[in-house]
Amino acid sequence: MKVLIMGCSRVGAHLASLLETDGHEVTLLDVDPSGFSKLPHTFRGNALLGDGTDEDSLRRGGIQEMDAFIALTEDDNTNIMAAQIAKSVFNVPKVVCRVYDPTREQLYRDLGLDTVCPTALIAESVRKRL
């Protein structure tokens, strides 16, 4: 499938290479080109400069043909806004959004966003080892 990832953080770059290994077509979008250096040199997909909360940037990133959109910047609100644009403006079939703040994550999950909360995942993972 075609996947657009916003935010070339460590997670974004790692996910991109995993998805590519699985045979998916990946495009990365970031406002800062320095993150692209985290991509493995084998990466064959597109890396574009742009703001995922801006509809024009998303269009340039090809959002209209995407099967999935993943919001992975460091900023919860940027991720939430971009995910809602992908979902309700561009009707992307699968939208996943990272939210660090657990209460904010819960609220947006209740509102129908598919969210991942690293804070809760790590806390739970550590708790299970004790």
Binding site: T53, N77, M81, A82, Q84, S88, R104, D110
Partner: protein, 221 residues
């Protein structure tokens, strides 16, 4: 009224000052303690240090009893999220978001922000009003709680409706001419046999979605 304002920049500060002077109860939320301290020296203890997008901060602010929630930081995404949390978690009846990118307006509306304000749009409208001919159709009001609007349309001499009776012109569904202002400023209540003339202005209630079609029906040649 109890008004919660997120963002103590220039807009937040002047807004807080203005609504305080009108006798409203105000709480101003900002992450920057020094900014709040400066404002509190002048306006009294109206500040709360914290993240206006965090439920805990909004809980502490008593957002659940707020009549109005206003988010005026300089980040559109922060204003959107603050308003959504106020609306969905704390059931604030009216939320207002400041917006810089004017493309965001339909999105904000769709996602639960009741009112958007944008200096970008205001300045743009001013520029357009100065540089272009007055529009043939001006939206006067949007009817509260519905998708209907009231518009003022000027009939140009080339319009297909000139010389026609109102009952013989075809308007979009759910459109009704409610008032007629003749070229000499006489005001008339239109009937089905009233004949429209060039230079007339008609006031029409219609669906917002049919605005373009209404414009075409009354001004097209």
């Amino acid at each position: 009224m109890y008004i919660v304002i997120v963002g103590a920049g220039n807009v937040g500060y002047h807004l807080a000052k203005a609504v305080l002077s009108k006798g409203h109860e105000v709480l101003l939320i900002d992450r920057d303690a020094a900014t709040l301290e400066r404002i509190e020296d002048e306006l009294g203890s109206i500040g709360l240090k914290g993240d206006g997008c965090e439920a805990n901060t909004l809980e502490e602010a008593g957002t659940a009893r707020a009549d109005l929630f206003v988010a005026v930081t300089d980040q559109d995404a922060d204003n959107l999220v603050a308003c959504q949390i106020a609306k969905h978690r704390f059931k604030v009846p009216r939320t207002v978001a400041r917006m810089s990118d004017l493309k965001n307006e339909p999105l904000f509306r769709k996602l639960g922000v009741d009112v958007t304000v944008s200096s970008t749009i205001l300045v743009l409208q001013y520029i357009e009003s100065q540089t272009s001919k007055p529009p043939m159709l001006t939206r006067l009001a949007v009817l509260r709680g519905s998708d209907r609007e009231i518009a003022d349309v000027k009939i140009p001499p080339t319009s297909v409706v000139v010389g026609k009776k109102i009952r013989d012109i075809s308007l979009p569904q759910n459109s009704l001419i409610i008032l007629l202002i003749r070229r000499d400023e006489r005001i008339q209540l239109p009937t089905s046999t009233t004949v429209l003339e060039a230079g007339d202005r008609v006031v029409v209630v219609s669906d917002r979605a049919s605005e373009q079609a209404l414009h075409l029906a009354l001004t097209g040649s």
